[in-house]
Symmetry: C2
Subunit: 197 residues, 2 copies
DNA sequence: ACCTGAACACCGTTCAAGT
DNA sequence: ACCTGAACACCGTTCAAGT
């Protein structure tokens, strides 16, 4: 066997990442497996390990595809947006996590194997999201980047918390506010509180 | 084989739940398995399925043990606390999630098998946490329970978001504020914003 | 009624052996 | 150099068969 050379290494990488991305969208991260990716692209699991080295790396590359697509969409929409950028970003986060639920969830369900750190190239893709909000916040805080950074973190993390608890059914156990109402309440009142401080 | 009757059904349940709880503490939820629980208590996997019916049910019972212990500790500590109850709860959440990281994480990493809903008895155990904060908030909002409920949700979810992103290394990619600083900023400014609204 | 053992259909990971 | 096939050590789930 072997040495098919039907595809170059780059083609094979793209093939696997696209198939994996599709599989997550169809079945969710919990049912995702490298073996199914291999099956779908017509290669064996061994080949995937030859290319990606590990399951973690394969997932990271698939999640990176999600992050790239999401960031592009978010940045473009933010530029066109005429209303309050903070409210816009909160709404956008909720909408994206709903419309691309499986891909969004995979970003947070995957954890590196014990001992391994998230690689720098992946961390940078995450950082861009914070920077996007940070930049939008700068005019509000007298161009104080440190202050904007802290606010961006609190708001991103807060919106994420509302989002993840809402999607996993842990927020509707008492009362019945929508995730959007909660996220907008967070944005409005937190920013108002910061202003009055 | 069979019909050992070394333990009653109740004893067996407790045995499995305790062993499972211990296993999660030792190896984390991602390496947890029903087979290891069976091995540790000296029964077979079949017996666990006979008792619990499914993997989901076993995990729910183990997570319920965590929720009960946590709630008891939190409620008792809140009563003794003399400072601001909201700041106290934020700090307590962060501290508990750090000190009992694996058990805390298991609460949020487990998802029901597709189609199955979280049972009512488990949802009630979750609801108590919201009620705890709601009650502490009531004096601040003129005993308006609906308003307190909304604030409690935003704060719990927000603190949770800061907590989960912090523990999974997704908050320290830019800048360097501690999770506690972010959580206290959220509590202080959000509440201030609500007040000024 | 209770419990086992074995089977089924899966996993991630490794690697000698072929081309 | 590239790729396979098979093996290893695991999973959750089911169930006929024993006591």
């Amino acid at each position: 066997m072997a040495r098919r050379s039907d595809h170059s290494r780059e083609e094979l990488e793209a093939l696997a990442i696209n198939a994996g991305h599709q599989l997550i969208g169809e079945q969710g991260f919990s049912h995702f497996s490298a073996r199914q990716v291999a099956l779908r692209i017509g290669y064996t699991v061994g080949t995937l390990y030859h290319i990606f080295g590990s399951y973690d790396e394969l997932i990271l590359r698939i999640n990176a595809k999600t992050l790239d697509a999401w960031y592009g969409e978010m940045a473009a929409a933010l530029q066109k947006n005429k209303s309050d950028p903070m409210r816009f970003l909160a709404r956008h986060y909720l909408a994206y996590s709903t419309e691309h639920y499986q891909h969004w969830l995979a970003l947070f369900e995957h954890h590196m194997e014990k001992g391994r750190a998230v690689p720098g190239w992946y961390r940078e893709k995450l950082a861009r999201f914070f920077v996007l909000m940070e930049d939008a916040l700068l005019p509000r805080v007298g161009n104080n980047r440190k202050k904007a950074g802290k606010i961006a973190k609190v708001l991103w993390a807060g919106i994420h918390g509302i989002c993840i608890l809402s999607h996993t059914g842990k927020l509707d156990i008492v009362g019945a506010q929508s995730a959007e109402a909660l996220a907008l309440s967070l944005v409005d009142h937190y920013l108002a509180g910061v202003k009055h401080a």
